[in-house]
Symmetry: C2
Subunit: 130 residues, 2 copies
DNA sequence: ATAACAAACGTTATATTATAACACTATGAT
DNA sequence: ATCATAGTGTTATAATATAACGTTTGTTAT
């Protein structure tokens, strides 16, 4: 039987923190925030993060080595992710734009590569920082 | 006066290595490769990398923390980068597709953010690994 | 030419991000 | 029951990146 979508204790703790956060969180900042809950080692964080990413509950912002909760229910399990990132205040916003996503997904590389997944990161100044 | 496009000694050494490489290179692997040339410390590598990125001579593959030479003369100084990345053999190929780039560049986020730059990374299996 | 400035350099130390390895526990399937 | 899979806790270490400091080099202005 395929695993139920139930989260383990550590996974739930990590997800809660990321969901409550206003912006992207770094692994070690998550770690410091959960030491009161009995999680003491980076491994425990990274293992939870890996699974949460697999499940599509969170995403990694590659350019920042940081993690955000998935806000778009229709983001097909991290197969097509896009974010806008403010270079001033560090704000990150998940972009769910079906047209954009479809356009990029349908892009086919000349050299014969078939893509399974993409990640797009936009940089600029957010409304507040502009 | 704007700086000439001439590279310093260390910048040239680092760029040479990256250009000669078949695939993306990591900072410390570059370091190990240039120790015979008198470069001994990570700082020296990272400083050169930063400048080379600024100049648009190389790009950072964020999902791999690795660096590739820019192969497309018309890639507007790293304002719009796209790569295809093989999940099996680690090959990275810079995509220069004017239509794709234009489409993405013209994308405007609803929330009022104006973008200065984007980076897009595709993942899949290359022709050889497929 | 020389003073002034910016960019690059070399070096040591340290911070940050991520994984390896191992022993143990819980759960469910055959 | 035994087997497999997933999760846990822990210690140690690897890999990636930056801080801080003083020196040197190259350019520009006078
Ligand atoms: Zn999402
Ligand atoms: Zn902002
Ligand atoms: Zn390029
Ligand atoms: Zn391949």
């Amino acid at each position: 039987m395929a695993r139920a979508q139930t989260l383990s204790r550590n996974q739930q703790i990590v997800l809660d923190i990321i969901e409550k956060a206003k912006g992207p969180l770094k692994a070690y900042s998550i770690l410091f925030n959960v030491q009161k809950k009995g999680i003491n080692a980076p491994q425990q964080i990274y293992r939870a993060l890996d699974k949460l990413i697999e499940m599509g509950k969170i995403h990694k912002i590659e350019s920042k080595n940081a993690f955000v909760a998935c806000r778009s229910s229709d983001c097909e399990i991290s197969k097509a992710t896009a974010f806008s990132i403010c270079e001033s205040c560090e704000m990150v916003d998940e972009i769910s734009d079906a047209k954009l996503s479809k356009y990029i997904s349908s892009f086919n590389h000349k050299k014969g590569m078939k893509f399974k997944r993409f990640n797009l990161e936009f940089f600029g100044l957010c409304k507040k920082c502009k």
